[in-house]
Amino acid sequence: MAETRIPVAKTYKIYLGGKFPRTESGRYFPLNAADGTVIANMCRGSRKDFRNSVVAARSAFAGWSASTAYLRGQILYRIAEMLEGRNEQFVSELVLQGISKRKAVKEVEASIDRLIYYAGWSDKYQQIFSSVNPVSSSHFNFSVLEPTGVVGILAPENSSLLGLVSNIAPVIVGGNTCVVLASESLPLCAISFAEVLHASDVPGGVVNLLTGFKDELRDQFASHMDVNAVVFCDGDAEISKIIQEKAADNVKHVISRRDQDWSSEMSQNPYLISETQETKTTWHPIGS
């Protein structure tokens, strides 16, 4: 009946401070399908994009970390809802990136469930990890968790969506903001996920998503003086060494999540939240 409609191809941009700009560098890298055709021209994020992302993440930190646990839980749940609504898009992007339909369906479902899992932790992990400390003087003393600040995440290379979600969720549910470098070879879902975040009341700057080359940007993640923790999920011993060395410039927390099976139930737990938290202990006299 109708003639074949010419589809509108999607432009994949980066997600920075709640907006979708192109990389400031104007560079791109082609993402090819299995048959060699170009799926999309991805932004090849630059050092400057990264720097701008950290600025956005830092300025979002005060508000996000001060938001109530209940609100953060609501927003994570909202992300899950939005992802559910765009289920098919993500499945097709995963398939486009070369995995089977069956696996793609499973991955999207697991990603949604993971968000709900962490949404539920928002107002509970504090209760698990906090303590009132019975000091031997007339003081009330308690220890609570606080977000460590801006977290850099080098997302897993081989898990386009689930690995990404599994690393972002525990970081932001704990009140941190983050800058994420998506899987270099499987970047499509990351940018679409940014659209989901954008539609889910996640304040701008809380999550900043870049696409680009790990070899080019890894050092920036490790060395930036205004990043408080760096999470990395791939790389050999040499890479891990470089990250650690550079992280020492500002005594960054370094969290290695290499060789993790992100589809496993074991890859979700509140200890992953606590890894990007600081323990704060407060003393106050008990008197009149």
């Binding site: 003393n141 408080n228 891990s240 992280a247 005594v251 600081e278 407060t282 106050h284």
Partner: protein, 490 residues
């Protein structure tokens, strides 16, 4: 408002006669070897360094300088004790050893306090009332955890790490040893510990306690020396975890050295804490908190309240009261029971502090020192405050690690908070206000690991300690301190 006509007089009239702690009950050997595998042994290479009394500059003893080979011997002993004995022992039994250690420390408390003050220069009142009792309390606290670890980590099985290398500073020698060793042993690890080179003596006395407590050989090994000895521990391939307390500079070197290894680490580093006084505070108690914050232990405290932020409307009153209070501080012989401020720990540290006094004056700040006399021999620094300083001054930004306070003013809560957080450090902070909701706002917003509200420089074994940002990684003390010495299996 400060007027000469109403200045209080503290330096005339009735004075306190010297009240020195006797030293006839203590025994310091001429030479100390290394404590490896339950025995005091000579170093492989016959090298010793002098430990001096910083209050007199006279030598106290000669301490073995551990080489890489000695460190290797110590690590091997620790590994053997770990696989052969300690990792197989029940938590309850490990706990019994720790309880026993705590008790012996209590019994020998006076001796420990005296030696700590002789070797490190801190006032006997502090070593007697704070360092030594707290050190014993740490062993007592962690002793009880040894058979209860699984209760601290829901849904996880805690497993010991193996051999732990620990490097401690000179400001609280025995207390830092206790902070490090007690949780490590409670969690089932064995230890190689290096005390700071200027303060090795109480660590060697602690070794005697371990021996007398019957602690199995090799469970704790103590190697003495300076930086290279510490580096040998950090870089030893058979060490599973490194715990370090000291400067941020060295902490970064250690973090870099550990890059690419699977060693866990905790770092407890420097600080430049803001002590924030609001106009609605109990001012007299706040002044005590300022004094305790910066003059405790000669200011050799990583969490010292070295930046005073005082709200403008009470700034004159606070400074005036602080000056009067400073006149009552007694500086001198660390062994005198009335001494408030003892000797600076070493010639090198005194040089550092004095260089900052020059820097502060060159930066245009006004320096005030209390009017007390100091002995001719030894290393001394009178209590010092700088007024008229600003955020851009080095004496505001850099850790001095001495009895030197930089005083700034602020007008609004936001301004105070911004200044407080405007630092790469984040170890501690203080806030003084009588208004409850403001206490919570401030304690939440200060980016630091330990916040004292309407108090300062309080420590307890149950209370986690450690910093944000460049002040470190990990926590020591309390339940949270256990995590540093365990891996958690699902």
């Amino acid at each position: 408002m400060s007027t000469d006509s109403t200045k209080l007089a503290f330096n005339d009239g009735w004075q306190y006669a010297p009240a020195p702690e006797s030293t006839d009950h203590i025994q310091i050997d001429d030479h100390y070897g290394l404590f490896i595998n339950g025995e005091f042994v000579a170093p492989e290479i016959d090298r010793y360094f002098e430990s001096i009394n910083p209050a007199t500059e006279k030598p106290l003893s000669n301490i073995a300088l551990a080489s890489e080979k000695d460190v290797d011997r110590a690590v091997k002993a620790a590994r053997k004790a770990y696989t052969g004995v300690w990792s197989k022992m029940s938590g309850a039994d490990r706990g019994k050893y720790l309880f026993r250690i705590a008790r012996i420390m209590q019994e020998r408390a006076r001796e420990f306090a005296t030696i700590e003050s002789l070797d490190g220069g801190k006032p006997i009142r502090e070593s007697r009332d704070i360092d030594i009792p707290l050190a014993a309390a740490h062993f007592f606290y962690y002793a009880g955890w040894a058979d209860k670890l699984e209760y601290a980590f829901p849904a996880r099985t805690p497993v010991s790490l193996g051999v732990v290398g620990q490097i401690i500073p000179w400001n609280f020698p025995l207390l830092m040893a206790a902070w490090k060793i007690a949780p490590a042993l409670a969690c089932g690890n064995t230890v190689v510990l290096k005390p700071a080179e200027t303060t090795s003596l109480t660590a060697m006395k602690l070794a005697e306690v371990f021996r007398d407590a019957g602690l199995p050989p090799g469970v704790v090994n103590i190697v003495t020396g300076a930086g290279p000895t510490g580096a040998a521990i950090v870089n030893h391939l058979d060490v599973n975890k490194v715990a370090f307390t000291g400067s941020t500079e060295v902490g970064k070197i250690i973090q870099r050295s550990l890059a690419g290894t699977d060693k866990k680490y905790t770092l407890e580093l420097g600080g430049k804490a803001a002590n924030i006084i609001f106009a609605d505070a109990a001012i007299d108690e706040a002044v005590e908190g300022i004094v305790n914050g910066i003059f405790f232990n000669q200011g050799h405290v990583c969490c010292a309240g070295s930046r005073l932020l005082v709200q403008e409307s009470v700034a004159d009153e606070v400074v005036r009261k602080l000056r009067d209070r400073m006149e009552t501080l007694i500086i001198g012989d660390p062994l005198d029971k009335n001494t408030d401020i003892g000797a600076i720990n070493s010639a090198g540290q005194l040089e550092t502090i004095e260089s900052y006094l020059s820097i502060g004056q060159a930066e245009g700040a006004e320096m005030y020192q209390s009017d007390c006399s100091v002995p001719d021999q030894g290393y001394w620094c009178r209590p010092t405050i700088f007024t008229g300083v600003s955020q851009s001054n080095r004496i505001v930004q850099e850790e001095i690690f001495g009895p030197v306070l930089a005083i700034q003013t602020f007008r609004t809560l936001e301004e105070g908070l911004t200044k407080a957080n405007n630092t790469p450090y984040g170890l501690s902070g203080g806030v003084w206000t009588d208004k409850g909701s403001k206490v919570f706002k401030m304690t939440q917003k200060i980016r630091a690991g330990v916040i004292w509200a309407n108090t300062f420089n309080k420590f307890d074994p149950t209370s986690p300690f450690g910093g944000y940002k460049e002040s470190g990684v990990g926590r020591e003390g309390g339940m949270h301190g256990l995590g540093a010495y365990l891996k958690l299996e699902a």
